[in-house]
Symmetry: C2
């Protein structure tokens, strides 16, 4: 009855969203911001201005590519972040994930190869799976693997800034090298960039897309306000050369016609009022402290069994087991019984084989709850080793 690709799908994202709302569960598995840090007062005041304003254009169909003032605001934001952009470079999407889905539909013929930075973002796998791609995974730090993947596929997915799931942030030299490999192989890079602003101390290096544009190459920059403003607005975009945006707009048209107007106007107001100028320092400080709490708890409770690198931003610590007898898929199940949810590495592996790694989130919970979650996780490890 169902299309064949759907048989290989899973509902783990839905499980994470649900686990994030269970009262007794410490959810280290999801990728959620701290809801307590959403700029609720400011967003509600923008909403009041829109509601009592003279226009109720937001009740009508928005233009397919997005409301003009929002496209303009996003173009300005992207330009400030080093990627010179005009409104015609911007397609408004419902979250960054819809941008990935649209790109997959637009550029992947059925069964075509797709180069994907691995461990891979779960949402990307979900978004591209309906095209049944032949996954060409690559470790972004491995030059040979990168070249092989860019040779295999015309389209390459990358998340260079605080990657989900492994937290890696590429340095200038690596980024330059990747652009060069893309240029040599004629590979179009899809740069998924939702965590760029969530650095702890040192600003994130210039994006791949800005470098590609400077080199005269095409680029696809996927942006989102879900991690920096609030995910419930589903404020995302694709930034690309205008002639690409024109075609992608047709895919958006066939996906959901247009995004709802009111969330678009709220996102526009947030950018116009420079809400990020006050919001981002708060997020950076809070998440840096939480990351430290997670790293300390890991040192205390899990140091014998796992290793990790301290991230410099983003939302995740990526742990790798040091022992053969630890299976993180089993640990995920055991963790749920002990009241802690983690993301097992298997879900970030397009072919579902990884059992050595796990992703731990440090943004959603308070420091005390993170500590408690890691303590529970240590008990779960002991359980699986029995």
């Amino acid at each position: 009855m169902f299309a064949s690709w759907l048989k290989s799908s899973n509902d783990i994202t839905a499980q994470f969203l649900a686990a994030g709302k269970l009262p007794d569960m410490v959810n280290l598995g999801g990728g959620l911001p701290d809801a307590g840090l959403y700029p609720e007062t400011e967003i509600k005041s923008y909403a009041a201005q829109i509601l009592y304003g003279s226009s109720s254009e937001w009740l009508e169909y928005a233009p397919v590519a997005g409301i003009a003032s929002l496209r303009q605001a996003i173009a300005k934001l992207e330009t400030e972040n080093g990627l010179a952009s005009a409104p015609e470079n911007i397609l408004v999407t419902s979250g960054g994930l819809q941008g990935l889905s649209i790109v997959g539909q637009a550029f992947l013929d059925f069964g075509a190869p797709a180069a994907v930075q691995s461990p891979a973002y779960l949402g990307l796998i979900d978004a591209w799976r309906p095209r049944q791609p032949e996954w060409a995974s690559f470790n972004v730090h491995d030059t040979q693997a990168l070249k092989a993947a860019f040779t295999a596929s015309n389209l390459a997915y990358l998340m260079p800034a605080f990657a989900n799931p492994d937290g890696a942030c590429l340095a200038d030299q690596e980024l330059e090298h990747i652009v060069q490999v893309a240029a040599e192989h004629g590979t179009l890079m899809v740069e998924d960039d939702p965590y760029r602003e969530l650095y702890f101390d040192t600003p994130t290096p210039l994006s791949l897309s800005a470098r590609a544009k400077a080199a005269g190459l095409p680029y696809l920059h996927i942006g989102s306000l879900s991690k920096t403003l609030a995910p419930g607005l589903r404020a995302g975009w694709i930034n690309a050369p205008a002639e690409i945006i024109e075609r992608l707009t047709l895919v958006k048209q066939g996906s959901d016609m247009t995004s709802p107007g009111l969330p678009q106007l709220l996102a526009e107001a947030a950018i116009r009022n420079r809400l990020m100028d006050t919001q981002l320092p708060k997020l950076r400080a809070a998440y840096k402290a939480r990351c430290s709490a997670l790293l300390n708890a890991l040192d205390t409770h899990l140091g014998d069994w796992f290793e990790w690198r301290a991230p410099t931003g983003g939302m995740f610590v990526w742990v790798t087991s040091k022992r053969e007898d630890i299976d993180t898929t089993k640990l995920f199940e055991a963790g749920l019984k002990h009241g802690v949810c983690i993301s097992p590495g298997v879900v970030f592996d397009p072919i579902g084989a990884d059992t050595k790694t796990a992703r731990l989130n440090f943004t959603f919970n308070t420091e005390a709850k993170i500590e408690e979650g890691v303590r529970r996780l240590a008990k779960a490890v002991q359980d699986t080793l029995r």
Copy 2:
């Protein structure tokens, strides 16, 4: 560079949305409600209640399948309309169109046959084109064609109530017959039903989905508040057996993760406050009068060249040329020069061959403007005959 299906796409929907906003153009081409009839005051009062309420859950990710209270409200609405439903039968989508896109992804393997009521809804063609289906068009009134299409494909798209584009509304007997053919061939019917409530006088017959459910068959009922409340909320849903909804939720997850929360809560408030009870009689009366105005103008100005059937609801009159030398694709172009936009039949034909028909909308414009639009169209016809 682009996937092969995208070469066959077009931006005519975007053109219609744009033409709807040109100040000097009489837009008979789009499928827009009259923005003057949106229940702006009521929707704004719901918004104020939500904003000043204690919960700001709408800033967070909503559940993938939709906010629970909205699923419940839609299930109740569907039950009142004859299709007994529980919340687990409902997947909230961003407009009816996203429902169609999700269904296409879930049920169509690449290049699989797709039975489509023809003339076909343009949005359906857009939504399913990325699956590169082999279109099996059928005239819904032609028993032989229906059987052939249901034999060719496991999935059949139908719009039985005031079809877009041709306005046809099927009677009980025809509906029963279609359900019987579907049962015989094991065909899953996708019933697109956004116009159901827009009858002029006589309530619309029970849906295909309600009949299928009563017969123990699976069903897919695509609903929307875009035509009855306001399109900018993008309030749509899929109603299906719970085990199908579970799988479709995975497709939604890979499409845009979740729909934004605030428009979902506005739709929920509108249903809970029974806004339709006051809104629908207003729409029915206004659209009936406008339809009469269009039919009168057609009689006066276009009777020598075209024929049509008077609709009993919906948003469109479907005209067919009586003369060999009238080409409606050329007429569309000529109309734009005379300040009137129509929808040529070619866009509703999956294989793009129809040049004899056109769709005229009667909901968007005042009666005076409709009359003026038809007058301009008559001049455009004369131009193309020169």
